[in-house]
């Protein structure tokens, strides 16, 4: 049965805070998280007549939409707004306190701190390789040339460094596993 306006409103009330926290922890950017939340629900509004699941399972659907939008965000660095524009939705601006409240509810400071501490724990060579690969987006061959190393060595440094950091992030996200009845 298609979702009614009340179904969507209830879904939002029950899901939005968790979804916002989920998005904020994965973007480390409160504004991006709000925009992704808005696009998620714009998609839900647009596609509600096609939803055929139970109302209580709509939460899973919402998280699935959000996860797909996140993947697009990681790939392109941009937030999809097609549904927002199609529905004529206006994303409200954040107030001066919203930024801090979203960071507080999402605990992004502690995640940042944990990753920063893990970064400090890497040796200088791994940290530099990760900085050049992940932040400066240089190719492995460019890094190898700049650091006068074999490309394989650069790949190994990045890979080992990221493995250690992945453990921190995965350990942190384990606390957020979302269960459905």
């Amino acid at each position: 049965m298609a979702m009614t306006n009340d179904d969507i409103s209830n879904l939002y009330e029950q899901t939005a805070p968790d979804l916002l926290r989920y998005l904020a922890r994965r973007t480390l950017d409160p504004q991006a998280a709000v925009d992704l939340l808005a696009e998620t629900f714009a998609v839900i509004c647009r596609d509600r007549r096609r939803y055929r699941g139970r109302p209580e399972a709509a939460r899973v659907w919402a998280f699935g939409i959000a996860e797909n939008l996140l993947k697009g965000f990681y790939r392109s660095g941009k937030i999809e707004r097609r549904a927002i524009e199609r529905m004529g939705m206006v994303v409200p601006p954040m107030s001066s306190g919203d930024f801090e409240r979203i960071e507080a509810m999402a605990g992004t400071e502690s995640l940042r701190a944990a990753v920063a501490e893990a970064l400090d724990g890497l040796n200088d060579a791994q940290r530099l390789a990760i900085q050049m690969r992940v932040v400066e987006e240089r190719s492995y061959s460019e890094i190898a040339e700049l650091l006068k190393l074999e490309e394989q060595v650069v790949r190994a440094r990045v890979s080992r460094g990221l493995k250690r950091l992945r453990l921190v992030i995965e350990n942190d996200f384990e606390n957020e596993v979302i269960e459905y009845a």
Binding site: L20, G64, E174, I178
Partner: protein
């Protein structure tokens, strides 16, 4: 029920907006065919690790970049400027030793036809190494050497080497490091080239295996095209807005002259650049003017702050230079070029500056249009800088 008191306001505002959209029939999507969403399964756990590598890369990158905490250019440049003023300053009796290297890609007409138009041209990079020992009173020593030029393509190398061989090398002047008139030697070679080709202002010295010159530094500093005598440096403005205005005004006058030159010499029109903001950028990031000839710290700091007044200058967080040094970096994109400057994280010395072609076809110099995106057209590298109590003996 959620505790709305701790919820961000925007969550409630967004709910109202969603309800407004749902109530609005023209936006409800009635009657439109839409893609069927995948049927969600109930009762399964979405583990965060399912997003895998993408999350790790993103989160790590965001933490290193400090995510949305990267300050705008103005704040970041103010921080760079503050460190200039906090860094230890040399005493009047001390000398600042600087070793640096730069390379500049430029076109050279390799021949002219009967109408004075270039019949052939090549691109080459003049690669120069510099050393200077200069006090705040402008006393000291400068030494430079030019290596043989490098060429971006084999075609440029073939034309360039043929061109230099055709210049009369019997007049080549060997440099003596102890002479003080080697600038005359270089100028004499440029004049010779001008006489032969009739082309002025574009030539480079004919390369010899090594060319070393030593000369006395000037009695002031150049800021843009303005020469400020040592005695007048204290009077030069320290307000970034006034510095920007003054440098830009000089650049606009020069741009008019260059434009006039290009009109009078259409065969060389493709070889001139006339963007005043480009000249402002080059002036404010000029290593000689800003750090090798030691200008007062407050003036250098003000010049760094003035960079924020060039439209579209961006702070891009930390970058690593080719020597592996990491520091705050700034970028400015213009005419198919990305300018980047990296400062030392502690002292704000300018470590590295590059100009990289991002869209060769957009560059005003037509000779660059055949190059690939990513080609470097300029680089400055600070190799070493320290303060000495006295001048070392001449080599």
């Amino acid at each position: 029920m959620h505790d709305t008191q701790t919820q961000p306001e925007v969550v409630a505002l967004l709910q109202r907006e969603i309800e407004r959209v749902l109530e609005s029939p023209e936006r409800s999507g009635a009657g439109r065919r839409l893609k069927t969403p995948r049927s969600p399964r109930g009762g399964w756990r979405i583990a965060a690790v399912a997003a895998g590598c993408a999350i790790v890369l993103f989160v790590v990158g965001a933490v290193i970049r400090q995510g949305d905490r990267t300050p705008g250019a103005e704040a970041a440049l103010a921080d760079v400027a503050r460190k200039i003023e906090l860094a230890p300053q040399p005493r009047p009796d001390q000398f600042v030793y600087t070793k640096s290297r730069d390379e500049q890609l430029s076109p050279t007409p390799a021949g002219i036809d009967a109408l004075g138009r270039p019949s052939e041209e090549f691109l080459s990079s003049r690669v120069g190494s510099h050393e200077s020992w200069i006090s705040t009173e402008r006393k000291g020593r400068l030494a430079w050497q030019f290596d043989l030029p490098t060429y971006p393509t084999p075609r440029d190398a073939e034309i360039g080497k043929r061109f230099w061989r055709s210049i009369d090398e019997s007049n080549a002047i060997q440099s003596d490091p102890n002479r003080h008139d080697d600038r005359l030697a270089v100028n004499r070679r440029i004049q010779q080239y001008e006489r032969k080709t009739g082309i002025t202002g574009i030539a480079m010295p004919a390369p010899v295996e090594r060319e070393t010159g030593v000369m006395m530094p000037s009695n002031g500093i150049f800021i843009g095209s303005e020469h400020i005598p040592t005695a007048k440096i204290a009077e030069y403005p320290r307000d970034p807005a006034e510095i920007y205005r003054r440098v830009r005004a000089g650049a606009e006058r020069r741009a008019k002259d260059m434009h006039k030159f290009a009109v009078e010499h259409p065969e060389q029109a493709d070889l001139v650049e006339t963007d005043p903001d480009l000249e402002v950028w080059r002036t404010l990031t000029n290593p000689t003017g800003t750090q090798e000839i030691p200008a007062p710290a407050d003036l250098r700091a003000a010049m760094v702050k003035a960079l924020a007044l060039i439209p579209d200058v961006k702070a891009v967080g930390e970058r690593t230079d080719p020597k592996g040094r990491t520091g705050p970096a700034f970028e400015w994109n213009h005419h198919g070029v990305r300018e980047t400057v990296i400062y030392d994280a502690q002292t704000s010395a300018m470590l590295n500056a590059t100009s990289i072609l991002t869209d060769p076809s957009a560059h005003p110099i037509a000779a660059f249009h055949r190059l690939s995106p990513g080609t470097k057209i300029y680089e400055y590298q600070l190799i070493e800088q320290k303060t000495l109590d006295k001048l070392p003996p001449r080599r």
